[in-house]
Symmetry: C3
Subunit: 339 residues, 3 copies
């Protein structure tokens, strides 16, 4: 599919500068674009990359001056570029909603209108789904689950019995929602399972990455607050109450019965011990291990996690530690002390 620069400018409602008849055959990011492509810049700091880039044209913010190369100026270059990529891609129309004939749906299930249900999906007794849900191949929804509208479940996502999912939630492939929490009582040398009778409740606009696991509560809900985004291979233990608009990066692990505030950010591979409270707007640096509560608004780093600046000072000192030991040995010698 080849279009003109003028057509692209019309797609995105942008201000065109240059030859409108220029043919555009592809849309690729700055590092990948070749002649014939259109690319995009989000900030003025990408100007030097744009100078080296061989793309035929670029979508740029209004703040970038026109300098002779063909550009389309818009308020939001990223959003405009997304539109262009999608329109240039001929295969991007999703198939019309249908219930695949191989889907196995219990007769008691209530499916909202315009549901799209892929091959070998299983929906067990008593579950209720809202409008326009998309269930990809092999999704399993257990008994008595409740899903809102516009939920997307990617292949093989699994919801255990009694899971509650809000509107516009996206759950990626192989995520497991509602498995049993890790709860045992050790008596006479054996670990006896504490039945895990709770459930998981996921509020509106949450996204959960591939392979992540969120365990059901022991007697009540494990909760994921509205708008929170969870990356791949994250583990959230039983009885946790994750706040709203959190960002939990890949491989984070949160042990049981933790509470997080709103707008918490945890970078990759963070671990949080059980029964802790993490305040609002807390930022936890990558690979931190959090052994105690973290007050709202603080930034912590390290294992054990400490205020970010303190950890930075310690790390800087650590690099000087072997030297420090030598100094102290010299001082002791100068003082005539034996080692």
């Amino acid at each position: 599919m080849i279009v003109t620069l003028q057509e692209v400018a019309e797609w995105v409602g942008g201000e065109m500068h240059g030859d409108g008849t220029l043919p555009i055959a592809g849309a690729r990011p700055l590092q990948e674009a070749e002649p014939g492509d259109i690319t995009f810049l989000e900030h003025e700091r990408h100007l030097s990359a744009w100078e080296k880039c061989r793309a035929s044209a670029a979508i740029v913010p209004l703040s970038i001056p026109v300098n002779g190369r063909p550009v389309i100026r818009v308020v939001d270059p990223l959003a405009a570029f997304v539109t262009v990529v999608q329109r240039l891609r001929s295969d991007s129309t999703p198939p019309p909603p249908q219930i695949h004939p191989t889907a196995w749906i219990d007769p008691s299930v209530i499916l909202g209108p315009e549901a799209s249900v892929g091959p070998y999906v299983v929906i067990e007794a008593g579950s209720v789904l809202g409008a326009r849900c998309t269930l990809h191949a092999g999704v399993v929804i257990g008994r008595n689950c409740r899903l809102g509208d516009d939920v997307t479940l990617y292949p093989h996502a699994v919801l255990y019995d009694r899971t509650i999912v809000g509107n516009r939630v996206i759950i990626h492939a192989h995520a497991v929602i509602g498995a049993d929490g890790f709860g045992y009582r050790t008596q006479e040398g054996r670990h006896h399972k504490v039945p895990q009778l709770g459930w998981v409740e996921i509020e509106d606009d949450v996204e959960i990455g591939a392979g992540s696991t969120i365990d059901r509560g022991t007697f009540a809900a494990t909760r994921i607050g509205q708008g929170t985004k969870i990356d791949n291979l994250v583990m959230i233990g039983h009885n946790c109450r994750i706040g709203r608009h959190n960002l939990l990066c890949s491989q984070v692990g949160i042990a049981g019965s933790c509470t997080t505030g709103d707008y918490v950010v945890m970078a990759g591979q963070v671990g949080v011990a059980d029964h802790l409270t993490i305040g609002d707007h807390v930022i936890i640096g990558a690979k931190s291990g959090v052994p105690r509560d973290v007050p709202s608004g603080s930034q912590v780093l390290g294992s054990p996690a400490m205020p970010r600046q303190e950890t930075a000072r310690i790390v800087a000192s650590l690099e000087k530690l072997p030297e420090l030991r030598k100094d102290v040995a010299r001082i002791k010698k100068a003082l005539g002390w034996e080692d």
Copy 2:
């Protein structure tokens, strides 16, 4: 479903104090209970939470004195509360055992009595299952596996060929048992795969969490000892021999050819290097990295892991390290030394 306090006391064989006609409509933990609910206390240290709790009644241990509020006194409040939650929940009866018509079971498979096999389960040639196994939707059991009695496999659990599973084992959704170990030989700049011809053997009463992976041995078994409990997203490498009654928390990784004793506990995100021996009753603190053998009975922490007290001392000193550097600089200055 609404019952009386008297009925609840009879369910759990408890000693009732208060008005037996009190209506009970729900059962929720202390932090969640509302009027109309019954709740429970496990220890006297929860008494202040019980005082604030609006529940209509509580199940309490025999050690708690009666103080006017309606209570049911029992030996084991947690077990009694589990009973109450299950009885109050009308949907908790599991469906009767059946072989779902969409399950694909090779004709050579031997299924024990009262098997429950969900939709789209696959059991390949030569596998033998004991009595009362429950296989949820989408479980895949490879060729020549052997499973004991009362095994539960949650949706999409995968057993590769030749996996051996004991009695009363529970494997959660998306766990992968028996994938190839990470074994290569590098020759002339290429990593050549060493065929992984062994298998995994899981003893009685083991539970394995969602998304965990246990690799097959190279030529023999990777073994998980009796009664060991493994949380979500745990990785156990090829040729490991995990002892009995271990507790391996979420995101633990144990590299190949390790041996653990009995009653080992590894907290979340612990890593153990390959070919190590971890003794009986060892406790490894969260996020520790274990680079060498750990003798029986010891507690280790940190990365590299050291005896817990030593790590605690080092961490305490670390917080003083920037100050220590300043002190040494002052001393050097006082001694008239250049920096």
Copy 3:
């Protein structure tokens, strides 16, 4: 199945020493072998284990002198032992290639010759597969994927739309290739999803472990270079370009937009921050956290990762840190300073 030592020697083209009529009933590694078994040694350093081993015979390298016990001498004992294990195992012949009747394959899909497609596999519209691909039970291949020849996908492996896979690639159970990257823009207190319109491209001879996740690029490819081997539960973020012949051990996490050179090794649980460049032949020690670029040829360790020797020096000093504090306190006292 019982054979003679002479037959075993012929299978592997080895030089037999001892009684060729000796019956061989099994093949097990040194630590497990019993009378009646043949075992193997790879190095002279295993000679003492061989002396204690009760196996009836061993396959040994040419460098090992004959000392009376029955041995078969070969150039490559591991490869020879693999042959013996496979030939002794009667169940090792894979079933002949077939398309299982329950596989759901869109009519537009092109399958190469001799494809083996298991039960409940799903292949969506527009995908093209090369010759001799093996898709185990429950594999899901999205729309418009392209796979080379001799690809093996284990149960429930998932390829999202537009994934490209080279020749001889192996992907283990529950790996997820091509899920959305973790990309959001936060505006007015909400995290808005950046559409992830790219794809994943996996080159020839790559192996990917169970439960690992590789996210699609935002607008272009996330690339895994030729011959790279990835262990279980590894996470590779969007837009990464992993080089050739890397070894990425279990639970490694690489954040978005990283580049690695060729022959990079990352040990277990390593984390790499986003947008970094890791040079050729870099070795990153277990559990390291990499916060900045790493030049070619270097070995780093620790969190934050530093040159391996520097980290080793710091760790050695750390163990002396509490003592060092005491020394400095004593010095200050000797100087008459208050604390």
